[in-house]
């Protein structure tokens, strides 16, 4: 195993990888959404360090939007998202981008590799915007690709198979040793065999790194891979009830 993928010990007192409170989001000008309805209305969600969570839900329940909110790519109307203890939405501009680059890895359904760049360069691109010293970039990128079984590191995405492309995307997502990996339908573009292999790699690499994994998927085959599974609609309801109970308990206590 490469030193790059050593497990991070989780010393006591460290914040969870992800902590969401009172998160609400609505697309501005969405014509099919009632004015008082939220696209995302999530009272709370905590993901411990190195924990792996599968988020499911029907189309339009805002799974991808939730990942974008967590990554700080869109701003919520209300609520907070703490990634590795940092309120990502309290950061603005370049600091938020830098934080995202170093604390969050993202894996996409269509991989979103940079066309025209080699596998190695795609991974180096992630390191380029991180705080990792440039002298280490090449070794780290090569180690990440090697760990994920990519030998043709100078091949462009167009020259790689779909499965290999996904593995390059995984290497890119984890090379900066993020606290949190967000996977948005990571197997939707793969055949069952490649999908299983890809998920084996994603999950094992996240475990090795001690990175929490939040995976969004429609694929029923994914269910058995995760000990913790959350259905987005139900999550809203259950955490809302828990929060209400908590509020009632606090209110009752105060009385």
């Amino acid at each position: 195993m490469s030193s790059t993928f050593q497990h991070h010990d989780d010393p006591g007192g460290k914040p969870p990888a992800l902590s969401i409170r009172g998160l609400r989001f609505r697309y501005v000008g969405a014509v099919d959404t009632p004015a008082d309805a939220w696209t995302i209305d999530l009272p709370s969600l905590d993901v411990a360090r190195a924990e792996q969570v599968l988020l499911t839900g029907g189309s339009g329940t805002g799974k991808s939007t939730l990942l974008h909110l967590i990554a700080g790519l869109v701003d919520p109307a209300e609520g907070t998202v703490l990634v590795d203890g940092t309120n990502i939405h309290a950061l603005a501009g370049a600091p938020r981008d830098r934080f995202r680059g170093s604390a969050i890895g993202m894996i996409f359904q269509t991989f979103n590799l940079l066309a025209g760049f080699s596998a190695l360069e795609n991974v180096l691109a992630a390191l380029m915007f991180s705080s990792v010293p440039p002298a280490k970039h090449h070794d780290l990128a090569e180690a990440a690709l090697s760990r994920l079984g990519i030998t043709r590191i100078h091949a462009t995405p167009e020259e790689l198979s779909v499965g290999q492309q996904q593995r390059v995307a995984v290497a890119r997502a984890v090379v900066c040793r993020p606290a949190l990996v967000l996977a948005d339908e990571p197997t939707a573009s793969l055949d069952p065999e490649n999908a299983e292999h890809a998920m084996d790699l994603v999950q094992s690499v996240c475990r090795e790194l001690g990175a929490a994994l939040v995976c969004v998927s429609h694929d029923p085959a994914m269910t058995s891979r995760f000990e913790r599974r959350e259905k987005l609609g139900a999550l809203v309801q259950s955490t809302g009830e828990a929060l209400a109970a908590s509020v009632a308990s606090i209110a009752g206590g105060s009385r």
Binding site: H68, G93, F99, G101, L114, F117, M128
Partner: protein, 427 residues
């Protein structure tokens, strides 16, 4: 992997667009530089016209006309100066050992090439370019009457060789029907000059006396009611002996090209109403101011091409933005900030300008060299274009700055690219 890798990959990904837009910038830069180089070369050629003379004395309407006719061979001067007056000038001016007062007469031509009648001193004392004496490509200067020396361009235009014999035409226009040809006397070509880059290259030179003789021949035949008469130098009268100009160089010290007494001599000659005195260097300067407007038009045209190339850069980058939104979104997810994205696109635009400017510099040098060869081969004109580093830096810098400016709109588009929207799977 760094920002340059991203920029160069982006340029390579749109290779055709990159090459064509850079080529447009190169053309604009080259055009601008060649124009500037040629303008400088043309100015030098104008200034070279007067050679090392200080003053031109004539009887033309004005000093500018005197310069145009007496140096640039625009037209034959209309009024002559009597030979006695020319001799008087020669004796009265402070010429010293190294000065001269060389009489000249214009009025004849051969196949459209002007013929200047003068004295052998024209070749031994006057320098067509300061510090550079005449060089004979073939033959030698005329030593007797009815010998002619050809300027480099005149030799090329007429196709005459050493030993050829010709008759001169009265007037300086292209050989027109009905023009009088002095066919009683034949001139032999005895010398062909090397190019000087000045107006004398297109002239032919012969002795004053032979010119006086052929005109005296006309006079005497008129007097004889058209009957043929033989005319020699012995038949010349004082009225036949006239010149149209005197090239003057005053005595100078060895370490100076301009004599201290030049203003006084100039003023003294100017007070004589029977002559017009011109300073060729001043007239050349005035002429350049007049033709400078054309120069401005040329520079404006080159500027328009430069701006057009900048617009083409903007359009090329603008069109590429649609295809690059996903790449920009991915870079943002990886931690690239909006200002850095903005800078990447702006730098990419400036790089197009740098590539174009560099290519333009090379093309301009090659182009100027081609123009030099073409001018020499086709017209016998020698021009010496040179590219001042300052001018090259200013033009290339302007091209790069314009290119960067052209990248502003695409850079703003890149800056404002919504990340989440562009990460969605393609339909």
């Amino acid at each position: 992997m760094n920002d340059w890798t991203i920029i160069l990959r982006s340029l390579r990904a749109r290779l055709f667009s990159t090459v064509t837009t850079a080529a447009l910038v190169a053309i604009a830069v080259a055009l601008m530089l060649v124009l500037l180089m040629m303008r400088d070369a043309a100015q030098q050629a104008f200034r070279r016209g007067g050679g090392d003379m200080h003053l031109l004395v004539s009887n033309d309407q004005s000093s500018m006309v005197s310069f145009l006719n007496g140096v640039l061979y625009a037209n034959p001067p209309r009024a002559p100066i009597a030979w006695a007056r020319a001799q008087q000038l020669r004796q009265s001016l402070p010429l010293g050992d190294n000065g001269y007062a060389i009489p000249t007469q214009l009025g004849d031509s051969f196949m459209g090439q002007p013929v200047m009648a003068t004295e052998p001193e024209f070749f031994s004392k006057l320098k067509p370019n300061p510090g550079e004496p005449w060089v004979f490509a073939q033959g030698k200067a005329f030593e007797a009457d009815f010998q002619v020396v050809l300027g480099a361009q005149a030799a090329r235009a007429t196709g005459l060789k050493l030993g050829h014999k010709i008759s001169l035409t009265h007037g300086t226009g292209e050989s027109r029907e009905g023009e009088h040809v002095h066919d009683e006397h034949k001139y032999e070509v005895v010398g062909i000059l090397a190019p000087t880059g000045g107006p004398h290259d297109r002239a032919m030179f012969t002795s004053l006396q032979s010119t006086w003789v052929i005109h005296a021949q006309d006079r005497r035949e008129r007097d004889a009611a058209g009957a043929h008469v033989e005319t020699t130098a012995a038949d010349l009268t004082d009225a036949d002996r006239k010149v149209t100009g005197v090239y003057v160089r005053l005595a100078t010290r060895a370490d100076s090209d301009v004599p201290a007494n030049l203003p006084q001599v100039f003023d003294m000659l100017r007070k004589d109403p029977s002559i017009v005195v011109a300073s060729p260097s001043d007239e050349a300067r005035k002429l350049l101011v007049i033709v400078g407007n054309i120069d401005i038009v040329f520079r404006a045209m080159a500027g328009v091409v430069l701006v057009s190339s900048a617009i083409s850069i903007m359009i090329a980058l603008y069109n590429s933005m649609e295809q690059r939104r996903r790449q920009i979104a991915v870079l943002r997810v990886l931690g690239c900030s909006r200002p850095r994205i903005f800078g990447l696109v702006l730098t990419e635009s400036a790089v197009l300008g740098v590539l174009g400017a560099a290519a333009g510099l090379v093309v301009s040098l090659l182009g100027a060299r081609s123009v030099v060869l073409l001018m020499k081969a086709k017209f016998g004109l020698v021009v010496h274009p040179s590219l001042s580093p300052d001018v090259a830096i200013v033009v290339a810098g302007a091209a790069v700055a314009l290119a960067a400016l052209a990248g502003l709109v695409p850079a703003v588009m890149a800056y404002a690219t919504p990340v989440a929207k562009n990460l969605r799977p393609l339909a």
